[in-house]
């Protein structure tokens, strides 16, 4: 069986496979002979990742599946902040009227709004809220809570980014009486999660007992206490590299346009996406639901 027969077979299961392969093929044809040999040596990786959809179901294809996946993450985040606001162990830090409580309430309200929006988009197809989320020791201390919050927000950003290319850009459902573009809405949620992540990182920096010396962005793959997997590579790693990645669009950006930049600076300048399997595994590693 040759390669094109294989692709033809996959097309019956996965009609979009050629879309994902075409880009690599045209890139190959643009290369010179020597480079082509090297590229072909690496081709099995590309083909392998294209197979994942048909065989491993690494990629969500149905819009409702993507929305329900997002809904699960939003349920989790909403419940996390609701429990934090009610936790006796955090009451001394999240005092009524404080900037900290105000920020967590703002974030919680956004997650609630996301839940409501996604449920409205899904209608009767919306999955129910899990019976409970057990966050273990997440609320034991204020710094621990903020570390968990950072992990959830940074993961949320990676999760939405990882689905962006799975959402058809022409999908315009009616949600709450308004026609909306689903990809645009997903991007609008995505950047709000990034704002949350930035602020949680700001809060961690400002904590009284020696804050974490970080800013609103991700340096290398540093979690500063958050699980390493949150910043690690997904599957396939070629599409979803670790946050320490410095290569974008085939360019290694530590030296570009006559300028040089540090690995840390380049890693900060680009966030990376994650596949849904890796995201759910990360969630299940710290939350029981």
């Amino acid at each position: 069986m040759n390669l094109f027969q294989i692709i033809s077979e996959i097309e019956k299961v996965d009609p979009e496979i050629m879309d994902r392969l075409t880009h690599r093929r045209s890139a190959l044809s643009a290369l010179g002979d020597i480079t082509r040999k090297m590229a072909l040596a690496a081709a099995p990786i590309a083909i392998g990742s294209a197979f994942n959809k048909a065989v491993g179901q690494q990629t969500l294809t149905n819009a409702n599946d993507i929305l329900n996946y997002a809904l699960l993450l939003e349920y989790l985040e909403e419940d996390f902040y609701a429990q934090a606001l009610a936790a006796p162990t955090l009451a001394a830090n999240l005092t009524t009227g404080s900037a900290a409580r105000g920020a967590i309430q703002t974030i919680k309200n956004h997650e609630t709004a996301h839940v409501n929006l996604l449920k409205a988009a899904l209608g009767t197809a919306a999955n129910p809220r899990p019976a409970s989320f057990n966050f273990g020791t997440a609320f034991s201390t204020y710094p621990t809570f903020l570390t968990f919050a950072q992990a959830f927000e940074d993961t949320g950003v990676r999760a939405y980014k990882g689905q962006a290319t799975n959402i058809p850009r022409t999908l315009n459902p009616t949600v709450g009486g308004n026609v909306v573009n689903l990809l645009t809405v997903a991007l609008q949620i995505h950047s709000v999660e990034a704002r949350h992540a930035s602020h949680i990182r700001y809060m961690r920096r400002a904590t009284a007992a020696g804050g974490t010396q970080q800013f609103g962005w991700i340096t290398n793959a540093d979690g500063n206490g958050a699980p390493a997997a949150v910043y690690g590579a997904g599957n396939p790693a070629a599409t979803f590299p670790a946050e320490s990645n410095v290569s974008q669009g085939g360019l290694t950006l530590t030296s570009v346009g006559g300028n040089t930049y540090t690995v840390a600076e380049v890693s900060e300048a680009f966030d990376e996406g994650l596949d849904n399997t890796t995201v759910v595994n990360i969630a299940r590693s710290v939350v029981t639901f």
């Binding site: 879309d19 880009h23 890139a27 643009a30 290369l31 010179g32 480079t35 090297m38 590229a39 690496a42 900037a99 105000g102 974030i107 956004h110 997650e111 609630t112 709004a113 996301h114 929006l117 950003v157 980014k161 962006a164 290319t165 850009r169 022409t170 990809l183 645009t184 809405v185 991007l187 609008q188 949620i189 995505h190 950047s191 709000v192 990034a194 704002r195 930035s198 602020h199 700001y202 800013f215 609103g216 962005w217 599409t239 974008q248 669009g249 085939g250 360019l251 950006l253 570009v256 346009g257 006559g258 300028n259 930049y261 600076e265 380049v266 900060e268 300048a269 680009f270 966030d271 996406g273």
Partner: protein
């Protein structure tokens, strides 16, 4: 292995963007000094022969995905130029006495410069727009309040621009790249907002009742950005 953003037909064309991007680069680090050079690049669009009174030309961003990439490149040029001016200003230490704030603004300046250089190198040489000249008007770079207010404007605008442009992008590779950048812009936006007023990172001026950030059309974004750019940008065919 593959350079996904190149569509050149031969090896020389393929390698070119990696080797040549020096001449139109880093223009804004010395804002003002390069105005003459850029005016030369634009001279074909300019029928005013008086060098001292040259009205900048019109720059077309192009169409389709390349148009979207040039659109992003134009905005990143603006941001990179702005922060380069902020951190190189003689009064930087006085305007920002907090060392951590200076460190953060210097990091943001690097991020935006990397975004700029990335688009410059990644967009096919035949299609890439030239270096643009900023117009800061009366902006006082020695004034923390003014600098942060302008930074907030640019960062929020960048987020809204990428959010609005996502659905215009046909090639998934470019969409993912835009996604990788927009969340960093959102992190910047939140950080700058918190420097202005702690807790304003995602307030109701930018996030609506549905928990959604802004998404703006190309026309809306260019209308907001145009006062800061001397050249006239034409984005009529971006994404079309």
């Amino acid at each position: 292995m593959s350079n996904n953003l190149q569509n050149g037909g031969d090896e020389a064309e393929f390698a070119k963007p990696l080797l040549v991007p020096i001449k139109r680069r880093s223009f804004f680090m010395y804002a003002g000094a390069t105005a003459g050079a850029t005016a030369l690049l634009l001279s074909g669009c300019d029928d005013d022969d008086d060098d001292n009174n040259m009205s900048p030309g019109t720059v077309s961003l192009g169409s389709g995905d390349v148009g979207v990439l040039n659109y992003a490149y134009a905005l990143e040029q603006l941001e990179a130029a702005f922060y380069a001016q902020v951190i190189s200003n003689a009064g930087f230490n006085t305007a920002f006495p907090d060392a951590a704030e200076r460190t953060a603004l210097t990091a943001i300046a690097k991020h935006e410069a990397i975004h700029r250089d990335f688009f410059k190198a990644a967009i096919p040489a035949a299609s890439v727009i030239p270096a643009l000249n900023p117009n800061w008007g009366t902006l006082n770079f020695g004034d923390r309040t003014q600098v942060l207010a302008t930074a907030k404007t640019f960062e929020d605008l960048g987020v809204a621009a990428y959010n609005g442009a996502g659905a215009l992008i046909q090639d998934p590779t470019y969409l993912l790249l835009a996604g990788k950048i927009v969340s960093v812009e959102a992190r910047h936006a939140a950080f700058i907002r918190d420097l202005i007023s702690n807790g304003s990172f995602a307030d109701s001026t930018t996030v609506d009742a549905n928990g959604l950030d802004k998404a703006m059309t190309v026309a809306q974004v260019l209308a907001a950005a145009q006062p800061f750019i001397k050249e006239t940008l034409n984005g009529d065919n971006v994404g079309k």
